[in-house]
Symmetry: C3
Subunit: 274 residues, 3 copies
């Protein structure tokens, strides 16, 4: 994948300001909205079953996140997804905490079975638990598992039947056949809540402007990771509070030149380093 | 309107720390509370129908915001508004996203019909959609409409029967007869979520200390806009993350001298520039 | 209490990253999660009655906070507390706004009666209202009361039958017999929403690594207060926005040396100053 193509997609997000409809958890709403605004997208949060179908229909992407799920919102998610599916709006799913409780695991499985999902993005434990693989999870933070993450991404993509992006120290993005690896990002992201959730919404923003979903997904991960690296370079010594704010700045500032210079993406076996 | 009067009202907010009861959306709760604290007001969020009447009764102002509405919270809003009305507590209404979905439009209309509202504050699209004018809205961000915004503010004030404040590049505040224009603020406010919502709550804080509602509303808009300008002057080059934080700082710091020096308010045809 | 012991407990939190399950209010979710991550703990928010028992069971501590309570979440809190009690997971309770409305007061009393609470942390008004003492409260901010706060802490600890921590200008922590006083912290904490709520969650993080609950509680208050002082020293002149961010930085940075140097804790009558 050419880094210049990734940079063009980022510019496309900024130029067209896609509307991203989020049904997300109460911890990350503010950070998600500010991150999407910073990137150049237009966020909307709408949760009531009375309106989600209408909102999802006009959106460029729908993002479902079960971080603080309850039965009512799950119902709204399914209604929204049905509307999105009927109107060719891509649906991104973030299975926060799948594996941590039975309710989360079952809800995650129900969502990937009931709706046509374009991308599932999560950590290794969440993805493993959706497809019934053995992988521990601790609250909403990934624990340890067996086997390699790249294979897990590929297998999950085959079983769920959509693009699967497993993010962590390295990110693996698979459609079940081809698997990309992205080596951008920074460990301080794990000290700020909602950085995974915002990433899923950023995938939504890219999916709204790029029909080739795996390209959209990889482009989102590279852009996000480069912005994080740039923010970390300036603020890591200060701490996670400063990083969080500078990261919002960098989502607005990261340039095509930065993407080309710092982006690191490849298919397994043949990687391209910026 | 004298800028020195506006400055005095700001000092009055800081001296009396009015309690502002917010029933607002899940995206902006934290930013709203921090903004009100910074300004010198005392925020409280209470949403359950079991307690909203009691909380609204002791508040200096009640702020209703439908940004992530659901039927239960709308019910609580109406109970709270009834209590506020019975106890002469001013009610500010922020019709976030009216026009974007039928549920939002109908709820907004229901609220302005069922309760005695002191001020409705929104963007042009939201206000237009409440009174059935043609104006596009995109998610919760104002789109394009016909006709001038000043006339829309005046007409809406007449139809709804309260003060209407339409904020945007310029702000228009009308009681249906007289219309003020405020030219403070900064475009970077549109890159931070909840800046409109917080403004509605700040209008509440001023309405709690000034019985002349249109004066309270204009004073809030000028104070808020000057603080935003001062924050933007320091942080615009850094990005929306830094602006967001500096804006909280400036809400606490903006002085009477700043208001008099930078405030820009006039009635249509005869403007006063600080 | 030795300050070196307090420092060791802080290091213990950082080393073991205890999972803290929060059922908290919608205003402070993000700040609470980021504060816990900064400190070194692992936050999780889970609210649905379908999953709270399972989540509380695997947690190191459960924190209940009624800042924006509703009947459904109160039900979930009681289910979670029952599970925590059955699994020897300490339960921290933050009675936000008890006394402000009948619903809050009654819910707070119900929770301390129905569940075995390890620590109740609140301001003087909240604690007084739980045990039926006369103390005014204004929204969620403490008002004025009669009598001294130390005696109130002691009496409340006896009546509720658990550790009671009343925080304010000075903090008093009592088990009904012995009462500690902590003189760390900074007044700018009152200008940032959720600093009390986060503190309750930090008490949870310490209770997860230290079985002697009053020692855990005092250690949390000292660590938190020293971090706040260090952040205030750098940012007080800038304002509450900058403080809020630097405070997150300092929760990650505050060192054993800082605790020993700046910690201020004593039992009433015999205080130890760092």
């Amino acid at each position: 994948m050419e880094l210049t193509q990734i940079a063009k997609r980022l510019e496309q997000v900024r130029k067209t300001n896609p509307l991203v409809h989020n049904i997300t958890n109460v911890v990350v709403t503010n950070f998600t909205a500010n991150g999407l605004y910073a990137l150049g997208a237009s966020p909307v949060m709408a949760y009531a079953k009375e309106e989600v179908a209408e909102m999802a229909k006009i959106a460029g992407a729908l993002v479902l996140n079960i971080g603080t799920l309850n039965p009512k919102e799950v119902e709204a998610m399914l209604i929204a997804a049905e509307s999105a599916n009927a109107n060719d709006v891509p649906v991104i799913f973030d299975p926060v905490g799948a594996g941590a409780t039975t309710f989360r695991t079952e809800t995650a499985r129900k969502i990937v079975k009931s709706a046509k999902i374009s991308v599932v993005r999560g950590n290794a434990a969440e993805i493993a638990n959706i497809i019934g693989e053995d992988w521990t999870i601790r609250g909403v933070d990934a624990g340890e598992g067996n086997g390699d993450v790249a294979s897990l991404a590929k297998k999950a993509a085959q079983e769920i039947g959509c693009i699967v992006a497993i993010t962590g120290k390295e990110d693996f993005i698979s459609d079940g056949e081809k698997t990309y690896v992205v080596r951008n990002g920074h460990s301080i992201l794990t000290k700020v809540t909602g950085t995974g959730c915002l990433l899923s919404s950023v995938v939504g923003a890219f999916a709204a402007v790029e029909k080739d979903t795996i390209q959209a997904c990889v482009s989102a991960l590279v852009s996000y990771g480069v912005a994080a690296e740039m923010a970390a370079a300036q603020t890591e010594a200060n701490g996670p509070g400063s990083f969080q704010i500078e990261f919002l700045n960098q989502l607005a500032k990261v340039s095509s030149e930065d993407i080309v210079k710092y982006g690191s993406v490849g298919t397994l076996g043949e990687e391209k380093q910026g």
